[in-house]
């Protein structure tokens, strides 16, 4: 029977293996017709939402792979706003608010609070965390 999942990603695309594990898990979930209620990027996991990461061509581009998955399945991808701001991940609103010279949040992500994790988790059958 299909289940609803909330997936929490705590690892950055660089320096951690867990972003890739989470991505592979999500692919397997969707292939088995389960639903992803929400992806929640938290702590160093917020770096996956940067549109400015440019890895060498012979290395995996995890932020691009996340964006592809999110767009393909029209997933709800929320990035913790507090964790994002202090790591330099900003959308246009925050760029204006803090008078910074650039915004870099990927188009398929949205910045919001931890409440979004609780809300998703409360309506999901399972919540799984991929630690850093």
């Amino acid at each position: 029977m299909p289940m609803k999942f909330t997936v929490v990603i705590l690892g950055a695309p660089e320096g951690s293996l867990s972003s890739r594990s989470a991505l592979e898990f999500c692919h397997a979930l969707l292939e088995q017709n389960h639903q992803i209620e929400r992806l929640f990027f938290y702590a160093d996991g917020v770096h996956n939402a940067s549109s400015l990461i440019a890895p060498p061509q012979d290395e995996a581009d995890l932020p691009a792979s996340w964006s592809q998955l999110i767009n393909e399945y029209k997933l709800d991808a929320v990035v913790c706003i507090a964790a994002a701001l202090k790591r330099g991940i900003l959308d246009h609103n925050e760029q204006t608010r803090y008078e910074k010279n650039a915004a870099n949040l990927g188009a398929c992500f949205s910045l919001s609070g931890l409440g979004q994790l609780i809300a998703a988790s409360s309506v999901s059958d399972r919540t799984i965390t991929f630690g850093s």
Binding site: M3, F5, L10, L17, S18, S21, E24, F25, H27, A28, L29, E31, Q32, H34, D125, R126, T127, I128, T129, F130, G131, S132
Partner: protein
């Protein structure tokens, strides 16, 4: 409540597997992923408690993709290999998922 415990750190450098083993009981299962796969090897520093838990009926799994990426092919007796689709199935058959990292 049955819990799937995932462990992603090597027991050679981190005590997350040791902590997990102390809290694992009943209908729980353990899935070793990423560097956690080293914990299922015959030379694992957690060999004794892990073997004891398996004798008590706890299922221990190793994520095959991560193990083979590290050249790990032999594991403690009783350890089973799973792939990502198997990981998803374990997530569904247990009532909650606890990550140790």
């Amino acid at each position: 409540m049955s819990t799937l415990h995932t462990v992603n750190k090597s027991p050679f450098e981190n005590n997350s597997l040791t902590s997990c083993l102390q809290l694992c009981s009943g209908e729980d299962s353990i899935l070793l992923i990423e560097d956690g796969t080293y914990g299922g090897c015959e030379s694992s520093p957690c060999r004794e408690p892990l073997t004891r838990l398996m004798e008590d009926g706890i299922n221990v799994y190793v994520l095959e993709n991560d193990a083979s990426a590290r050249g790990l092919h032999t594991f403690l007796q009783g350890v089973e290999l799973v792939d990502y689709p198997g990981f998803v199935k374990l997530s569904c058959t247990h009532q909650c998922i606890q990550s140790w990292y």
